[in-house]
């Protein structure tokens, strides 16, 4: 009996590739563990020896400031040795295949590899072929599981629950890995999700992933508990599916006026980086309902929890 309980408090998978394959209980285990780690970042000495002697490689094929720094800080606060490989100035830009680069890194005996890549499926591709645990830090428009977990952690912090919350996600649904991971997670934990954006940014049959789809932001915001804004990729405007930023902001930009349609205690989230005045008005981004910077803070705790569990730690006996 005790053995069974103990196994339920441990991570069963070799890797963390996405939210889709996880059970609700596994998601809860990560979120629960993250609470213990949140406290460490508030100490004067923000370091514990939990992963001392472990080596973690951050393999980033796409530019990333937030996610890469967040992982690196999480790794350092757990005392792991970390190595950063990014796409400029290394073998990656010299025509070596992904698999060759990864095998060379594997030959240096890391315990974990955190990977960010623009191609969907890349984290799985590496996980299937390499011994170290692989953590998906974003694979194309597929999944970004740690973002969804830190979003859920933030929602729980503010709302104490996820079940039956009305959550509206607004923006470029088609190209967003954040949306896919969030949809999987929020559905598993019982939230009611509405996706909002122009039809040109809505992937085919997305309703089948468990969401209501709306093209009318005002209507969708009515009485909602959480608003999650997505970044509009300014650099991709030609194929973006809308004629101008001005028109986009008119139709889908989050303004003070629009926020009033939601619940009084609505929280406003954004995975960053924000385009002020394109998808979100400055006064909303900086206003009292915004939890955008708390998401960043929570990202570290959630990633510490994931690193700890993947390293074999038990959720029931975290001593920090």
């Amino acid at each position: 009996m005790e053995a069974t309980q103990e196994s339920q408090n441990r991570w069963k998978h070799k890797d963390l590739l996405g939210i889709e394959p996880l059970e609700a209980a596994e998601i809860r285990m990560i979120l629960e563990a993250a609470k213990s780690f949140a406290e460490i970042s508030r100490r004067p000495i923000k370091k514990v020896p939990i992963l001392r002697g472990r080596t973690i490689i951050n393999l980033f094929y796409e530019p990333s400031t937030r996610t890469r720094s967040s992982f690196e800080i999480a790794e350092k606060r757990l005392s792991a040795d970390t190595l950063n490989f990014s796409s400029s100035g290394s073998a990656m830009s010299k025509g070596e295949t992904l698999l060759d680069t990864a095998r060379n890194l594997e030959a240096m005996s890391p315990d974990m590899i955190v990977v960010r890549h623009r191609s969907p499926g890349t984290a799985k591709f590496l996980a299937d072929r390499l011994r170290p645990a692989v953590i998906n830090a974003g694979d194309g428009a597929h999944e970004h599981p740690t973002q969804a977990l830190l979003d859920a952690f933030t929602i729980l912090q503010k709302k104490d629950r996820i079940e039956n919350l009305r959550i509206v996600i607004v923006g470029d649904i088609l190209n967003s890995r954040v949306v896919r991971s969030n949809l999987f997670l929020l559905n598993k934990l019982g939230a009611k999700v509405t996706l909002v954006g122009p039809p040109t940014m809505m992937p085919k049959e997305v309703e089948r992933l468990g969401a209501r789809v709306s093209w009318n932001l005002d209507e969708a915001l009515e009485g909602c508990d959480v608003i999650m804004m997505l970044r509009i990729q300014k650099e991709r405007q030609s194929a973006a599916g809308f004629p101008s930023h001005r028109e986009y902001f008119r139709l889908f930009g989050l303004t003070q006026e629009r926020v009033r349609r939601a619940q009084e205690d609505v929280i406003i989230m954004h995975p960053g980086p924000m385009n002020r005045g394109v998808e979100i008005a400055t006064e909303v981004a900086d206003g009292p309902l915004s939890v955008i910077l708390e998401q960043v803070t929570n990202g570290i705790a959630v990633r510490m929890a994931i690193l700890y569990l993947l390293a074999g730690g038990s959720a029931s006996e975290i001593t920090t």
């Binding site: 191609s119 499926g121 591709f125 194309g140 597929h142 085919k204």
Partner: protein, 425 residues
């Protein structure tokens, strides 16, 4: 040299034969086909319990020579073909350099003769350097031995060029074969657009990118009174267009690949690069439409689109991987197991799809076993259990989505011009 094939069950749709026959082969040609033949001097081959058919023809194969001999050579492709039950193959011109002139055509014909195996019929480019701008020297290539033209792999974007080539080829009596894809619309897609592309975050190609181009080609063929053949058709609506155009008398034919009748986009699950090809694997509704069209005759031929790739072009990120899968050594078993065994089609229809119709479309003078015809023969064992294994492939490449599949039915013997190329009875 006399060979007597005894006791086999002959399926020869062109002559309406479906029964036990003996075949006498003399000097590479069919001499007699009768219920019982006795010959003291002929070497006797007993085919009791086996099916005998006019040689199978794969009208859509990519040999990678010249240019990418690491993935396939003319010789290795020919060996894979005979092992898979084919006696003739037509090879697409997207080599490096491409087969857009008589000297490359003649090189392919000469190399194929030198290796003495299956018949190899080159297909020439529609446009110079496959660039889609100006016509290649089609007349010169016909003299060299091409049996059709295509810019396969590169759809012909220009309606004006397609119109011109449909008119021009009329004087040679060869078909224009088009890879139907509106490239603007398909964009940078890597899989079929639908729920799967949504879930996996992969870029999708809408199925109407095929339909639109089939519609355009049908309109042009009708107007130009030319002959259009639609390569590897994959969508329900594309098939509807072919059916309607043929009903109006347009000279339009089409082929389907074994992967499009055996698989759906679900095979992409887990990001398997061997499930990546163009056109992409489609929905189950599309696959069912393909089965219906195989049954009702809308589809004329099964062709593999055998597209060998070196593993280094497949063992990469999914959206970076090369498009295409091999097919020569799996097609016949897939058709027997997935089409004949569940009675989607009967053996007569199967032989029409693999032999009679491709021979007719390409004017090969084959696809029949009457006295005087070439003794190109495919022998099938409908009971043979086979497992698809990469280490048994004679192709230089291994990029098959069917590895590990267990199938019932196989080609067990291949004769070309009366010569036994392959015998695994």
């Amino acid at each position: 040299m006399k060979l007597l094939l005894k006791n086999g069950h002959l399926i020869d749709p062109a002559r309406g034969i479906d029964g036990r026959r003996d075949l006498l082969v003399v000097d590479g040609l069919i001499s007699r086909v009768e219920e019982t033949i006795l010959s003291a001097e002929a070497k006797v081959i007993d085919l009791a319990g086996l099916m005998v058919a006019p040689g199978f023809i794969d009208m859509h194969v990519h040999l990678r020579e010249p240019g990418r001999e690491d993935a396939e050579t003319i010789e290795s492709g020919m060996k894979a073909a005979s092992a898979g039950g084919f006696t003739s193959i037509a090879c697409m011109p997207n080599t490096d350099p491409p087969n857009d002139n008589q000297s490359i055509t003649e090189y392919i014909v000469r190399e194929a003769r030198r290796h003495q195996g299956v018949n190899v019929f080159p297909i020439g480019c529609i446009s110079r350097n496959r660039a889609g701008k100006e016509m290649a020297e089609i007349g010169q290539m016909v003299r060299g031995g091409i049996v059709g033209v295509s810019d396969d792999g590169s759809p012909v974007d220009s309606a004006a060029l397609m119109y011109q080539v449909l008119e021009y080829t009329r004087m040679f009596g060869i078909p224009v074969i088009d890879h139907c894809e509106d490239r603007d619309l398909a964009g940078e897609g890597v899989v079929n657009e639908g729920f799967l592309s949504t879930r996996l975050g992969l870029r999708g190609m809408p199925s109407c990118a095929e339909e639109i181009q089939v519609q355009r080609d049908a309109a042009l063929a009708r107007y130009a009174q030319g002959r259009i053949h639609i390569a590897h058709i994959s969508t329900q609506r594309g098939l509807d267009v072919v059916r309607a155009a043929r009903g109006e008398g347009t000279a339009i034919t089409c082929e389907v690949t074994p992967h499009h009748f055996s698989l759906t986009e679900a095979a992409v699950e887990g990001f398997d690069p061997n499930a990546k090809m163009k056109p992409p694997l489609r929905s189950e509704a599309d696959r069912e439409a393909v089965l219906a069209a195989l049954k009702d005759g809308t589809i004329d031929a099964i062709a593999t689109d055998h597209a060998p790739h070196n593993i280094i072009e497949k063992e990469v990120e999914f959206d970076q991987a090369a498009f295409g899968v091999t097919g020569l050594e799996t097609a016949v078993s897939l058709a027997l197991d997935r089409l004949v065994k569940p009675r989607v089609i009967d053996m007569t229809r199967l032989v029409s799809l693999f032999s009679v119709n491709p021979a007719r479309i390409l004017n090969l003078g084959k696809g029949r076993l009457a006295p005087g015809d070439d003794a190109d023969i495919t022998v099938l064992d409908l009971k043979r259990e086979t497992e698809i294994r990469a280490d048994r492939f004679l192709s230089r490449s291994r990029n098959s989505p069917f590895l590990g599949w267990k199938l019932q039915g196989a080609a067990v013997m291949t004769l070309v011009g009366g010569r036994i190329l392959n015998d695994t009875r």
